[in-house]
């Protein structure tokens, strides 16, 4: 699978952005703790994803792909198809330049992320910073929106393996609502053993696709069948729909996922216990109960 895009992608002034041109933001989960236990090795996973990214770029010459790495301690852009620098040194015959570029950035990112980590032996896998990478993706999309009336149709694809971090609940929900407002669908492909309530809600609210593949060795097939379709074509396709969504919220006080809790009647903050004063807005006495 080779691609002919090694040349500098100078911005084409007469870019014809038809309705099937996509801007795909891929959020790549690089939680090392998850990948050390995952049922598919990270290298295998990367080869599926890289092939998928290549095929996206092949579908339409104006398609744009941006990859953001979601680490445990940081997030960063590791690839942007609109600004791939020409670096012939990386072309080694085994790998298209695009891929080697991405992998190099990824390696740098992982090293940087490790430096940031504090040596704390967590009991579980721990979560990755989904809220951070979602926000970065949305910021990027906002910038694209402001370039002019003509721009590719953006969407976000989360390749998530780590479990949800309930402490990120508020930030993730804010990102979800912001995506909903700017009509950016969030697609989710969950690679871990558990369903992700965050991503279920994200896809449900923004009108994206939520999928938890059963056969991880066929990941590329899933990606190309379900997530490669642009937003315009989705109107004519039957994409998988989840049968149910976990709508449970996290409380603001202990960041626990709760089935039932107290809601501040003024600012709608959620608490697992009854507090005399709302810690978010300072309003006294909340008594409403949500189911």
């Amino acid at each position: 699978m080779a691609i002919g895009r090694s040349a500098v992608m100078a911005p084409v002034p007469s870019k014809l952005y038809s309705d099937d041109v996509s801007l795909l933001m891929v959020l790549l989960d690089t939680n090392p703790f998850f990948w050390s236990t995952a049922s598919i090795p990270f290298s295998k996973f990367l080869s599926h994803v890289l092939a998928f990214l290549n095929s996206i770029l092949l579908i339409n010459q104006f398609n744009q792909v941006v990859v953001i790495a979601t680490g445990c301690n940081s997030c960063n852009f590791i690839f942007d198809s609109s600004s791939v620098p020409a670096n012939p040194n990386l072309e080694n015959g085994r790998m298209p330049a695009l891929c080697s570029n991405l992998l190099q950035k990824l390696e740098e990112f992982v090293t940087g992320d490790e430096k940031l980590s504090k040596e704390v032996l967590a009991a579980g896998i721990g979560s990755s910073l989904l809220s951070g990478s979602l926000s970065m993706a949305l910021c990027y999309i906002q910038r694209v929106f402001r370039t002019g009336p003509l721009h590719p149709q953006p969407r976000i694809l989360c390749l998530q393996g780590s479990p949800d971090g309930p402490e990120q609940y508020v930030a993730v929900m804010n990102a979800i609502f912001s995506a909903q407002r700017s009509m950016v669908p969030i697609d989710s492909c969950v690679l871990g053993a558990q369903h992700s309530a965050f991503l279920q809600q994200a896809s449900y609210i923004t009108g994206g696709v939520y999928l938890k593949p059963q056969q991880l060795d066929g990941l590329f097939q899933y990606l190309s069948t379900v997530f490669a379709t642009d937003l315009h074509s989705r109107r004519f396709l039957q994409l998988p729909k989840p049968a149910g969504v976990d709508f449970r919220a996290s409380c603001f006080c202990h960041k626990n996922t709760i089935d039932m809790g107290y809601i501040c009647s003024v600012c709608l903050s959620i608490f697992c216990k009854h507090h005399k004063k709302c810690s978010t807005c300072g309003r006294k006495r909340q008594s409403s109960l949500e189911g």
Binding site: M1, T30, P32, F33, W35, S36, T37, P41, F42, S43, K44, L46, S47, H48, L50, A51, R94, M95, C99, S100, L103, L106, E107, V110, T111, D113, E114, S117, E119, L121, A122, A123, G124, I125, G126, G192, A193, Q194, H195, A197, P213, Q214, Q215, D217, G218, L219, F220, Q221, Y222, T225, V226, Q238, P240, K241, A243, G244, V245, D246, F247, R248
Partner: protein
């Protein structure tokens, strides 16, 4: 009611039959027919309690006067009697009607008594009827009632205690409405003249008199003053009718002349002073903030007709006779006011005197009430007028809100339940937290290893094995088509609808019964009395009986549905388990405590 009735009649087995002539004798509890021919076998001796009803032929001289005493509809047939004339038949019919009414009342009382006895409680018949009606209307409720109350798990009172709202809702609906005055005006009461003589007849009924009293306080006052000291009631009404007649003929001059001669008659002819003062008082009570000029001109007592004239005739009035004139609009307004005020008293309209006195009493009470809250009213009015100056700064008093109304709660709960089950299944599957034994360094190291591995090896070729790709593709299309054809068809369709109907019904029934039991169970905590203790253990026993039934359902269904059914049953079992756990914990605490204090209560 006379003790017995004896009439000549012909007994017939059918309407066409010529019949047997004889004598029909009716007493309070039976009727006997003796044929004139003593050898005839058509002899009857029947008790009324075997008679269910009676029919009779229409009155008319050319038709035979028939009376049919019908028996039980199942047995069919009846006893047909033909009387010599209609009056004879009428007498017998009335007698039969009264006798039957007596029997049906007695039997009804008997059945009500038995119903009350069944529930072993002191309840009014109305309350009982309401409950029976609710049970009859709601088959689900009836099932629950049968299951728990009749089997003794819950008492009647406990069962209804959680449904007070249902019972209350019906009370308000059955409230009696008061019957007001008819909106027809009494002036419609026309004098009848019989053409030949000069006599004019007015027809007054107690109902009309009551209305006259209400509409014309002066007449009412006069009645109280004059009758029976000064004149008889008959004379009084004669005078009244004469006055009315004068009004009718619109002969104001004659009216003035007669009023001058007869001071009692004048009362009826002149303007009603009581009414006038009442009107002035009402005008004074008009809200001062009302944006309307309430002045002398609004006094309808002195307003000329608005171009409307009674009987379409126009007349020019000498101001001298002004006070003897009554306009249509005056009558109309007064009548409207009285109809709107409603019927203030509830007395039998038989004796005119009592009606008049009762009306006077209620008027006095009204006046007293008005006087006592007069100062309060004034204060309120002042406040209102102060407030109205800044009314646009006031918050809207009734915030618009719509009551939450879930028409069929099952629609909502089914969908919620399906969602809950889904996530429940997921969390159960994923609850095994994968422990990561690697240190941070090792973890990052392995991740970097993977990256360098792909760098050196390159992308795998082929990326996906064809058979796996096919498998994925098949899986995806199947999943999509199944959700499309099973779930997508009808958004309201739930998991339950795909189960066999019997299983669905059973599951729903168990749900409702478990909910009922759990509600009672949890509401009996904390246990403070021995009664609650007994109730909790009673409920626990009942719940443990349902438990194996749920297992049975799970095993009885076909394998295709077993997974779904077990998902549905799971929350029920969990709810029951939680209750059992609580019961056991409480039991333990209780026994530990009673160990310390052997004499402590249970």
């Amino acid at each position: 009611m006379p003790g017995e009735v004896v009439k000549r009649a012909r007994y017939k087995t059918s309407v066409k039959d010529s019949g047997v002539a004889g004598v029909l004798k009716m007493t309070e509890d039976k009727f006997v027919f003796m044929p004139n021919d003593p050898t005839s076998s058509a002899r009857l001796d029947v008790e009324f309690r075997f008679i269910k009803g009676h029919k009779f032929s229409k009155g008319g001289s050319n038709k035979p006067a028939l009376l049919n005493l019908t028996q039980d509809s199942e047995k069919g047939g009846g006893y047909i009697f033909e009387f010599e004339n209609h009056p004879d038949r009428e007498v017998c019919r009335e007698f039969v009607g009264k006798a039957l009414a007596k029997f049906s009342e007695a039997s009804k009382a008997g059945s009500e008594q038995s119903a009350v006895k069944l529930f072993d409680e002191q309840l009014s018949t109305i309350e009982m009827e309401r409950r029976i009606k609710l049970l009859r209307e709601d088959s689900e409720l009836q099932k629950l009632h049968k299951q728990f109350v009749l089997s003794g798990v819950l008492t009647e009172a406990e069962f209804w205690a959680t449904r007070k709202k249902l019972l209350d809702g019906n009370t308000s609906r059955t409230s009696k409405q008061r019957v007001g005055f008819k909106s027809a005006m009494i002036s419609d009461l026309k004098p009848l003249t019989d053409g030949r003589t000069n006599r004019v007849t007015f027809n007054l009924t107690p109902e009309i008199i009551h209305q006259i009293f209400a509409e014309k306080p002066a007449v009412h006052q006069a009645f109280l003053n004059f009758v029976p000291n000064k004149m008889t009631e008959k004379d009084f009404w004669n005078k009244y009718c004469r006055a009315e007649y004068l009004h009718c003929t619109r002969n104001t001059v004659a009216a003035a002349a007669e009023a001058a001669e007869d001071e009692e008659l004048a009362v009826f002819l002149k303007h009603d002073d009581i009414l006038a003062s009442e009107a002035r008082r009402k005008i004074r009570r008009v809200d001062p903030t009302l944006d309307m000029e309430a002045d002398q001109g609004d006094d309808y007592m002195h307003l000329p007709d608005h171009g409307i004239f009674r009987d379409g005739s126009k007349e020019i009035i000498d101001p001298q006779y002004e006070q003897y004139r009554r306009t249509l609009s005056q009558d109309l307004n007064r009548h409207a006011a009285v109809v709107l005020e409603g019927r203030p008293i509830d007395v039998e309209l038989e004796d005119t005197r009592t009606v008049a006195e009762a009306l006077a009493k209620s008027k006095r009470v009204e006046a007293a009430n008005e006087k006592s809250d007069g100062s309060v009213t004034q204060e309120r009015l002042e406040r209102i007028s102060r407030m109205t100056e800044i009314e646009d700064l006031q918050a809207p008093r009734d915030l618009p809100f719509a009551a939450l109304c879930i028409k069929d709660p099952r629609d909502y709960f089914d969908s919620q339940q399906a969602n809950a089950l889904k996530t429940l299944g997921d969390t159960l599957a994923g609850s095994k937290q994968i422990k990561c034994s690697l240190s941070t360094q090792e973890a990052y190291g392995s991740l970097r290893g993977f990256i360098s591995e792909i760098k050196s090896v390159g992308l795998s070729d082929p990326i996906v094995k064809p058979d796996i790709a096919l498998k994925v593709l098949n899986g995806l299309t199947q999943n999509i088509s199944s959700t499309k054809f099973h779930l997508g068809k009808n958004p309201q369709e739930s998991v339950l609808d795909r189960l066999p109907i019997i299983t669905k019904e059973e599951l729903l029934h168990h749900w409702t019964s478990i909910q009922e039991l759990l509600r009672h169970f949890w509401s009996s905590y904390p246990i403070t009395t021995t009664y609650l203790y007994a109730k909790a253990s009673r409920l626990k026993d009942a719940m443990s009986q349902i438990y194996p039934k749920l297992q049975e359902i799970k095993e009885s269904v076909q394998s295709d549905f077993r997974h779904q059914v077990s998902l549905l049953v799971q929350p029920m079992l969990q709810a029951l388990d939680a209750a059992f756990a609580h019961y056991d914990a409480d039991q333990q605490k209780r026994s530990a405590r009673s160990g310390e204090r052997p004499n402590g209560f249970v």
